[in-house]
């Protein structure tokens, strides 16, 4: 029985997804407490190159046409054989559209315990999971001898799972897959012309404090610098300064971005209803008693018209642009 930590690498359209690196970083921490290796498991077709910057001790690579792009049936069948054979201490999956299609199925198939929504591990090898919309944390010993874990992002930085040196790669032979019940027909790319603010990770939100239509450009500049999108509270949309598709709040969209930068927004309940669940809320308002400060993580009492241009400059500088 080995103490290795397996990480099922997620990739789409020839690109390794960030969660894979987050998992490799998590695996490293876990491997330190178990004393085993970090093994990246890569399934694909002519995809060895994708292993180039994985921070792992070894890469197990299975090559087959049916594995070129992810499908649940194919990946699950291959991984079942691999996990059974290798019996690692833990197998990490992304808590994602890829990982979640196969992890608990494998748990059922192989009668292996599973822990989901894992955010991080502790130094003594416990899992820490995030449940109930992030309101509750659950911690416990990882069951054995082999446990399947699905990981959510946030506990580790992707950079920690990246390496400048390609790890050693072993080709693992596997029987040719036949009679697959799930096939990929095509990908449909997102429509770039239509911004869906509910899918944006960073939102720059403007409220009454923006004062007039021309000042929206300050928010646009900041958003461009941050790689974000501008949204608004109701007074701004009502004035016609922003389209209704950008409205956040009771009468608009509900958003849960990683960062919600609220500029000149007082934080009326009707607005909070639309963004209160954002991961990190940063609020800028000239009113120190603005209710937005009760839901924000960080705040500053100052005029957004002063802050926005200053921040845009600093962000550009930080990005080296």
């Amino acid at each position: 029985m080995n103490q290795d930590i397996f990480v099922v690498i997620e990739h789409l359209q020839r690109k390794v997804l960030d969660i894979s690196f987050v998992m490799l970083a998590a695996a490293r921490q876990l491997a330190n407490s178990t004393g085993g290796n970090v093994t990246a498991v890569l399934l694909g077709f002519n995809a060895q190159g994708l292993a180039g910057n994985l921070s792992a001790d070894i890469v197990l690579y299975v090559d087959q046409p049916a594995l070129a792009e992810f499908t649940s049936d194919a990946y699950q069948k291959i991984l079942a054989g691999l996990i059974q054979e290798q019996a690692p201490r833990a197998v990490l999956f992304g808590h994602s559209s890829i990982g979640m299609d196969i992890a608990s199925g494998l748990s059922a198939k192989l009668s292996l315990p599973m822990v989901s929504s894992c955010h991080s591990f502790s130094d003594d090898g416990k899992y820490v999971s995030q449940i109930c919309g992030g309101k509750i944390m659950a911690e416990g010993m990882l069951p054995g001898p082999t446990v399947l874990v699905s990981m959510v992002p946030g506990g580790y930085k992707a950079e920690q799972g990246q390496s400048s040196q390609a790890p050693a790669l072993t080709n693992v032979p596997a029987p040719a897959l036949a009679e697959l019940r799930v096939t990929l027909k095509q990908y449909i790319e997102p429509d770039k012309s239509d911004v869906d603010i509910t899918k944006e990770p960073i939102l720059v939100a403007v409220g009454r404090g923006i004062q007039n239509k021309d000042n929206i450009d300050l928010a646009n500049d900041l958003a461009t610098a941050l790689g974000a999108v501008v949204c608004a509270s109701r007074p701004v949309v009502d004035q016609g300064w922003m389209p209704t598709t950008r409205l956040v709040g009771k009468s608009g969209k509900q958003v849960k971005p990683k960062i919600y930068l609220a500029l000149g927004i007082s934080g009326a309940p009707e607005h909070i209803e639309g963004m209160g669940e954002s991961d990190t809320i940063i609020a800028i308002n000239t009113d120190p008693y603005a209710p937005i400060f009760n839901v924000a993580k960080y705040g500053a009492v100052l005029d957004l018209l002063d802050l926005a241009p200053a921040l845009t400059e600093k962000v550009k500088g930080a990005k080296g642009g």
């Binding site: 007074p235 009502d238 016609g240 209704t244 409205l247 009771k250 608009g252 309940p269 009707e270």
Partner: protein, 401 residues
């Protein structure tokens, strides 16, 4: 918004029309003169494909399906202006608009915001989706402590039905506190239901959810039966309307008054307590369900007039033809929908009238109004000086509470 009637829709035909005639005074629809007054006085009439008069026309021409396919019904804010001015005395709001909304709801046709409010009401007993356990949290800090009947079980003189918005909405909690302080200053022995209180259900009823209204009424009835009190007062004209006009038909009959009536009765007791002068011009907005529907126009004005220093001015729409704030008849939760069509809010219209009347303060007597009017002020630069105050807040300020 293209409305497609699902396969589960009952036909809008003879059964529907018959059901209208069966409502109280519903037969009067037959006597419509097609004079157009209702359409003219309807605040959103100018934007509806089928303003009220045309709706009745369509009903008679048996093309009501077209009305249901249009957006017109959901533009109605149940302000009752059409009913109030109809020369044939047709209760248009109650006998047609509310029923049409009921049919749309049954077909599953409903703007998303309203759906959330109704689902919240069903689940949490309030449209805001707040935990019922927190319904009395607003009393924290008030001294003496507000009597929550479930805890003290004492008989009281007055049961104060606080209402959803005064209980939960941060802006309106201050109005609730003001009223609590006034009642204490007057030595009134009162209690509230607190977490046992359910939404009065009136606005939901006006939005087409008769079944939900009845459920709320039943639940409130069960709670009310437990306690001893002489009368009920409400913060909210909608609760007043429900308790006075709708609950009795469900077997729940109590003497009920709006808080302005209750306080106006105690004018001589209040006068000496108004120690602070307030040299301001105040204009009073008649809420639809206090004024137009229940003919209570004078008491709120009496209370305002008695505050030292106050000059009462009137807006161009007042009393019977007061302009709806757009909140009450479900309008609060049709806001996004109606904004998309009209690009104006009734609350903004009203705020402009207040400014035109040269008022410093726009006084209100309904908890839906302050958030709506204050939002409107944010978008109107000419109104930036205008303050919105609930009558209770003004009295409390003058009383130094």
């Amino acid at each position: 918004m293209e409305i497609t009637l699902s396969p589960l829709t009952p036909t809008i035909g003879k059964t529907f029309i018959k059901s209208l005639y069966e409502l109280e005074d519903g037969e009067r629809i037959k006597t419509c003169l097609q004079c157009g007054t209702c359409s003219g006085v309807c605040p959103f009439g100018y934007i509806m494909k089928f303003p009220p008069g045309k709706m009745i026309g369509a009903l008679r021409a048996d093309i009501f399906d077209q009305v249901m396919k249009s957006d017109s019904v959901w533009m109605c804010v149940s302000c009752n202006a059409c009913s109030a001015f109809c020369p044939s005395n047709i209760p248009i709001t109650a006998a047609l608009m509310t029923r049409a909304k009921e049919e749309l709801l049954l077909a599953g046709n409903i703007p998303a915001e309203l759906q959330t409010a109704l689902e919240n009401t069903q689940r949490y007993g309030n449209p805001l989706g707040e935990s019922p356990r927190k319904r009395a949290d607003w009393i924290l800090g008030l001294q003496p402590e507000v009597n929550v009947l479930a805890k003290t079980r004492q008989p009281v003189d007055v049961l104060w039905f606080v209402g959803d918005y005064a209980s939960y909405h941060p802006r309106m909690q201050s109005a609730g506190k003001a009223l609590a302080r006034i009642l204490n200053a007057l030595g009134v022995k009162f209690g509230i239901l607190g977490p046992e209180e359910f939404s009065d259900g009136d606005t939901q009823r006006l939005a087409g959810e008769r079944g939900l209204f009845e459920m709320m009424a039943q639940k409130n009835g069960q709670i009310l039966r437990r306690y001893k009190f002489n009368e009920i007062i409400t913060t909210d004209p909608h609760a007043y309307n429900a308790l006075k006009n709708e609950y009795p038909a469900l077997g729940l009959s109590y003497p009920v008054r709006h808080y302005t009536q209750f306080l106006a009765e105690r004018l001589e007791q209040i006068k000496p307590l108004l120690k602070n002068e307030m040299k301001v011009k105040i204009t009073y907005h008649d809420p639809c369900y206090l004024g137009r529907v229940n003919s209570i126009f004078d008491e709120p004005r009496t209370l305002l007039n008695v505050i030292p220093g106050v000059e009462l001015v009137e807006m161009s729409h007042q009393r019977l033809n007061s302009l709806c704030c757009g909140g009450g008849g479900g309008g609060m939760w049709l806001d996004g929908f109606q904004w998309e069509k009209a690009h104006t809010r009734l609350s903004e219209w009203r705020v402009r009238e207040a400014v035109a009347a040269n008022a410093d303060i726009l006084a209100v007597a309904c908890p839906y109004e302050p958030p709506r009017f204050e939002d409107a002020i944010k978008t109107l630069q000419t109104a930036s000086h205008l303050k919105i105050r609930e009558i209770a807040e003004l009295l409390a300020e003058s009383m130094g509470l």
